[in-house]
Symmetry: C2
Subunit: 420 residues, 2 copies
């Protein structure tokens, strides 16, 4: 075992000890710690900006794009936003301790099912330094210890933020080891974390598909995956076409870079001509590149519409590009989504309640929308207050994942000497 | 890709199609299918016994122990018991379709959280052929398709049982591919299953630690693990010692081969002498081998008490052997359990409610008992009607795992044109 692996194991052991202590903190204690973390972040603004300058200089030297450099940048305003985010988490209800069930068996044994923290969570993430705080405080509020492993582009910024959280938190009673950052970008640390199932209860990778794939192939413990959002909107023959147009334009153009944005439009053939003529043209006007089938290309023959291929059905563009297919029925739409989709968020636009019900029940996705833009597939929009991501898994957490999804449960059984 | 991997992939694709159809069956349809499966098992008793004879002959030729051969054996009575088990599952309520939550957002969007099947579940198991039916029907009732991969010792028996389930089920509308058995024992099939995350949503290994470890190291999808039960009973200084004796004897001796049996006894030093003199001797009388510390060996100096070592704290004997340690406080007991235990089932015996509460809250195990034998850590005893195992994981399912734990959920959102 090399020194680095030994170091990660020691972090794991510390995190496990911290987790046992964290499970017993009251809501008031946790919220006081969170506010003290926010205070420390603000008090250390100068140090954080200084550390960030090192990352920015390295980014420029390495020729990172202007957009990537901007994502990396921290200033007073952004640091204040991170601190505000922490105070918002403090305001959320504490999921830990909630009684989920409570019953008594015929032999007199009482069983109480109670919500408890998961334990130790590993977060492996890429560039943006605010994730250091955002992820750690959600895990902390739900009673979990975290081991954070950020990307090399933000190594100095992440260190300064983690120092602030640790100092601020421990000043008012946060257990040592509750929030730990791996302070090297040696790639082997991902492997060491992923193999350490004696200490780590869960890994959440936050980043691109390549990162998630790597973690999935290495991990011995559960991984909650936030894969692609290949989201569909199906415009039914019974759709209100004005509503459909507004939803499609919103889902595609309002923020195309996010996972709940529209990627593939499916249109019933009975309304295809009318919809393509009106909404298709509107999408082109909004700067959207269309990749359609023969039906669409005929209607928009004067316009540049590329030919859609099988590849388009499985592509998450995250850009102003839209794949379009004409279908003969809601069943073909459902089949298409269940075959090519990513089980994330999909929408049907129809005035026919039977068709909507069929679509909602049969599309196998985390969130299925009727006459509502898929852009609402989001923890904030659902009213969860905060989210750590949108799970494309079906186990433990599915869809927008908030504080309750960062907990487990246990059974507390009491009796008066029952034996079997 | 070799032919076998291709075959497994085709099973995966069929299972996924079946799963989509299964999700839409009503409870009545599923229960009719289950009863038809039970009927088919009984009708095919002769074929099943004949297939089983081939496995028994191979087992004898390979020199398997009498106990293992007995586990493998199927006769009319055991086949009837398997069929009865299926009818009991038919009698259980259907978890699918349950509304878990239902709320409306300020923008008028209504969100319904509904229980749905997980999808496709892989079951990898060892010798006993009844698992072929037990596991498949629990997954079926909760709307999931299964791919079964049994041990080579039961290959013919498993085939005959799976044929009966498939024939019986399909006669009354079970979708093709809902229950599939891998009919080879080539070891590579475990790997092919574990890598097939495009079709398999979950793997449940049922068997020894070696099997679980193999699956964990290979799997790309969630694995629900049923690891060791290193269960503890802590006899507090405020214990009713008669009750403690009865609980300890029950938990250790009533069925020592199961995962919720007692493995390590912790005793507060204030009551150690009295408890060892009485309960220790009673355990010896029951044929239990004791591995104790100096305190116990002194009290029972006339008896053969082996010396406990660190190894004993992490050993699941599954036998009439008991490790014993004297502790100075409930906190030492909690620390010992959280350090050496397997997070399965642990018990405190005390008349002091404060001590019990401390133990119940701080021991990080799936089921924590107060004045009740750990032998009750079981789906049937909890009133769940059936269980597929006792999860030692903290994600998705913890402790006794029944039908609701074989489901996921989805969000159905409806609106009237909401856009962001």
């Amino acid at each position: 075992m090399d020194a680095l692996q030994q170091e990660i194991l020691e972090m794991g052991a510390r995190a496990r000890q911290a987790a046992l202590a964290l499970g017993n903190l009251t809501r008031e204690e946790k919220d006081a710690i969170l506010h003290s973390m926010a205070d420390a972040l603000l008090a250390r603004e100068a140090e954080i900006v200084e550390a960030n300058a090192l990352d920015l200089a390295a980014a420029e030297a390495n020729g990172l794009s202007a957009a990537m450099i901007d994502r990396l940048r921290l200033d007073g305003k952004r640091i204040a936003a991170i601190a505000d985010g922490i105070r918002q988490v403090a305001d959320l209800p504490d999921p830990v301790g909630e009684t989920l069930d409570d019953w008594t068996r015929p032999n007199g044994m009482r069983i109480v099912k109670k919500r408890v923290p998961i334990g130790v969570i590993g977060i492996i993430y890429e560039s943006r330094p605010n994730v250091t705080s955002d992820a750690a405080v959600l895990c902390f509020k739900s009673g979990n210890a975290t081991i954070l492993r950020g990307g090399k582009e933000a190594i100095h910024s992440n260190g300064a933020i983690a120092d602030a959280l640790d100092t601020g938190g421990r000043k008012v009673g946060m257990p040592e080891g509750a929030i730990q950052l791996i302070r090297t970008t040696d790639r082997s640390t991902v492997q060491h974390l992923a193999q350490m199932d004696q200490y780590l209860d869960l890994i959440i990778p936050r980043g691109g598909k390549g990162l998630i794939e790597t973690v999935v192939s290495l991990a011995r413990m559960p991984v909650i995956k936030h894969y692609d959002g290949i989201c569909h909107t199906y415009v039914d023959k019974a759709a209100d076409l004005e509503m459909a147009k507004a939803i499609v334009i919103n889902a595609k153009t309002q923020k195309p870079s996010v996972c709940n944005a529209l990627e593939t439009l499916l249109v019933h053939r009975d309304v295809a001509d009318a919809f393509y003529a009106d909404a298709g043209r509107a999408l082109l006007d909004q700067g959207v590149t269309l990749r359609g089938d023969a039906a669409m290309r005929e209607v928009l023959s004067g316009e540049k519409v590329e030919e859609a291929t099988e590849d388009d059905w499985v592509t998450e563009y995250l850009d102003l590009i839209l794949a379009v297919k004409t279908v003969i029925s809601v069943d073909e739409a459902i089949d298409h989504i269940n075959t090519y989709g990513s089980r994330h968020s999909d929408c049907v636009v129809t005035e026919d309640a039977g068709t909507a019900e069929r679509f909602l029940n049969q599309v196998d996705s985390a969130a299925v929308f009727w006459n509502t833009s898929t852009r609402f597939s989001d923890g904030e929009e659902f009213g969860f207050g905060a989210e750590i991501g949108i799970s494309t898994d079906k186990l433990h957490a599915r869809g927008p994942m908030a504080l309750p999804e960062l907990t487990s449960y246990k059974y507390l059984i009491s009796g008066d000497g029952q034996i079997k």
